[in-house]
């Protein structure tokens, strides 16, 4: 087991813990935090493989992921605040209007 594989296993674990967080959390804000954790795990994989291959393309992908994460946070938090202002709740179990 080389160091690169250990880093890839670590990033897998981080990604899966973030996925578990999306499934189990009650608060909408913490669900967004869990998606950030998933994006961080993907970034770690890209940078690790980049170090192994000796190129910089993966780091550029990670840079774009950072950009998309910033945009996602802006839009997602705006959505949460407007849901809260219109409906007055923010639990993930109460937003079922599309399901019903």
């Amino acid at each position: 087991m080389t160091l690169e594989k250990a880093y890839i296993l670590l990033s897998l674990l981080v990604f899966l813990i973030g996925l578990l967080g999306v499934v189990i959390r009650k608060n909408l804000i913490t669900i967004l935090v869990s998606t950030e954790i998933m994006l961080n795990g993907v970034n770690l994989t890209l940078v690790t493989v980049d170090k192994y291959l000796g190129k910089v393309d993966g780091q550029i992908f990670a840079l774009f992921i950072l950009t998309v994460a910033a945009a996602e946070v802006a839009v997602g938090l705006g959505l949460i605040v407007s849901i809260f202002r219109l409906k007055g709740y923010e639990g993930s179990s109460e937003i079922v209007h599309l399901r019903d």
């Binding site: 160091l3 690169e4 594989k5 250990a6 880093y7 296993l9 670590l10 897998l12 674990l13 981080v14 899966l16 996925l19 578990l20 499934v23 189990i24 959390r25 009650k26 608060n27 909408l28 804000i29 913490t30 967004l32 935090v33 869990s34 950030e36 954790i37 770690l44 940078v47 980049d50 170090k51 192994y52 291959l53 000796g54 190129k55 910089v56 393309d57 780091q59 550029i60 990670a62 840079l63 774009f64 950072l66 950009t67 998309v68 910033a70 945009a71 996602e72 802006a74 839009v75 938090l77 705006g78 949460i80 605040v81 407007s82 809260f84 219109l86 007055g88 923010e90 639990g91 179990s93």
Partner: protein, 162 residues
């Protein structure tokens, strides 16, 4: 030595990520997330991606975490109190599935072979800038459009209803 650095940073990262997912209060969850961002920047530094480590600190640890804390302060606290923690049943159902997926993918990572290295990158920041502004110039411009659209969308969403 490399394994020692890996062990310390990986332990820090896993503890803070698990804390961010499992801790009760949303503010504590965001603080654990801040800790995980710091350890991730350390991992990037140890992997030789200096520019990305700096950007991680600037964008995540400064912009995004502060934004989360600001949004939490605008929401009344007693309303946040109703929805904290996690669903216990979903945790007991989801954790074995996640563990099984991790074992499966970890087996594939350990058994599989990585691609062979192509070249040695020189100075990180210079190489990255050169590649970004030659091969990836068009995606770079598209990223600026994404940021602009997200900004307009956030303004529209955050506007007060007439």
């Amino acid at each position: 030595m490399e394994w020692l650095i890996f062990g310390v940073l990986a332990f820090w990262l896993l503890v803070s990520v698990l804390g961010a997912v499992l801790v009760k209060s949303p503010v504590h969850s965001i603080l654990f997330f801040l800790s995980s961002v710091l350890s991730m920047a350390g991992i990037f530094l140890s992997l030789g991606a200096e520019l990305l480590a700096g950007l991680q600190l600037i964008i995540y640890a400064v912009a995004i975490v502060v934004f989360y804390v600001l949004v939490i302060t605008t929401i009344p606290w007693e309303k946040v109190k109703r929805f904290e923690g996690f669903y216990r049943k979903e945790l007991f159902l989801g954790a074995p599935v996640v563990l099984a997926v991790f074992l499966l993918m970890g087996y594939m990572v350990l058994k599989g072979k990585l691609a062979s290295p192509v070249g040695m990158a020189g100075e990180n920041v210079r190489e990255l800038g050169r590649t970004l502004f030659t091969s990836y110039l068009f995606p770079f411009e598209v990223a600026s459009v994404i940021l602009l659209v997200a900004m307009i969308g956030a303004i529209l969403l955050g506007r007060k209803e007439e």
